[in-house]
């Protein structure tokens, strides 16, 4: 039997009837059409499905929609304001930190959380923070450099 939940996604309030076994990932992609969030492994290994739940980086594939009832969710679609990329997104583009792009939404969300918590993380802190987000293409170096660019600046905006 479906259950009614309410949640706020990228600033918009939603009320939805969901099957109890529905994951947050399925809800975002299939019910709300927010396909920026990717599905890789489905079992917590790759981080492609990372979103922020009440500000905390969360793999949406292992989170049931029911468990986030009443929470506020941010996805990669929410990073762009008025059609303009966030500074972090722009840094990913500028540094060639995106190749196939499949890991990118998850990487961006994990890193957004890191930079909100710690405006100037050291390289080692950056590498540790993204250690649950796998990238098959870039070898991570360019991703780290992109994050470092934002981490170096005094501009508080991410």
């Amino acid at each position: 039997m479906k259950k009614l939940i309410s949640l706020n996604v990228n600033g918009i309030a939603h009320e939805l009837a969901v099957e109890p076994r529905r994951t947050l990932l399925e809800l975002l992609r299939e019910d709300l059409g927010l396909t920026g969030t990717k599905k890789g492994c489905g079992i917590g290994d790759c981080g492609a499905c990372t979103v922020l739940v009440d500000g905390v980086a969360t793999f949406s594939c292992l989170t049931l929609a029911i468990q986030v009832n009443g929470c506020s969710v941010e996805t990669v679609e929410g990073l762009t304001k008025d059609g303009k990329l966030s500074r972090l997104q722009q840094a990913f583009v500028d540094h060639g930190a995106i190749q196939c792009g499949y890991c990118t939404p998850g990487m961006l969300m994990t890193t957004t959380e890191l930079l909100r918590r710690n405006q100037h993380p050291k390289e080692q802190e950056i590498r540790k923070a993204i250690s649950g987000n796998l990238c098959r293409c870039t070898g991570y170096q360019k991703i780290v450099e992109a994050i470092q660019e934002v981490a170096r600046s005094e501009n508080e905006e991410i």
């Binding site: 109890p20 994951t23 489905g42 905390v56 980086a57 969360t58 292992l62 029911i66 009832n69 649950g132």
Partner: protein, 344 residues
Amino acid sequence: MILPRFDVLVPESLEEALEMLGEHADKGVRILAGGTDLLVDLRRPIIPVHVPRCDGCAKHPGGMVYSTIDCELWLSEPTAHAGGSLRNALQDSRRISPQYLISLHLLRELKGIKRLDNGSLYIGATTTIREIAHSEKVRRCWTALAEGADNLGSPLVRNRGTLGGNIANARPAADMFVPTIGLNGILKLQSLGGERLLPARDFASGPGLTVIEPLEILTAVIYPAPLSYSGSSYYKLANRKALEISTVGVSVSLTLEAPDGPITDVRVALGAVGPTPILAESAKGILLGETPDEPLFKKAAQAIRKDARPIDDHRGSAWYRSNMVQLLSERLLKIAYIRAKRNK
């Protein structure tokens, strides 16, 4: 690959959760905390079964194929023409698929880290691994637990996974369970009838198996207050620094009478070298009452090695694991000793 069909119950109090547990016990019910073990276990994407596609294939004994059986199919009735092995697989999966999950996420009373009046540490079962890794209290006095938390899975796993889930899941390599035994953690198990306290070392009865009663919920773990001159340390040996199950895990806790000894208490817990985490009893016999020095730690490590009962698997051979138990025990005894000296 989707989850099998189940209902999720969301109790608002511990008592309600326990009532729900009793009410649905006969229909297959599981507790859901972070879900990082449970939801993975419930997905069985690929089952090796013989799916007969035609008569000829059905008659061919070697016609085993690896087939992706959708969970939807698991829960539907087996079709008339399905082979015997498929029917068995479907029945098996029905047995493992619970009809109800009871999610603990609204129960605030199960969350949080606090120090009790007697100095011991109380950690609610649904406290996340992340909160434990970030807690200065834990790092200062129960260092081995903080070091387990630092190295569990990845940041994303630590953000969702819980202390209670790690212990209740009872894997022999579990990175919170092993130091919990090393630190002599006491589990608080609650049922409608009351609560009981059980030393963590008595909890596991096999890989993934525990002595928890079907109507009990693990509500908290209590770590005794460290005495003066105590120190602890945990090391996870694994092929990678993240997203890896340990090949060997060792947790050491040591207490001294004075900065230079003698040793008044010691506990060494070993992970991934037996069907459950192992409390290495021989460490006590060699170390208690002695003045700590390198030759003593060497001798103790040789004895601890014999307490391990490792097997060969893809993470490492039994021989390698035994060597590592010895090497790590010696190193961790030294580290715990250095920490103990400093902790007045």
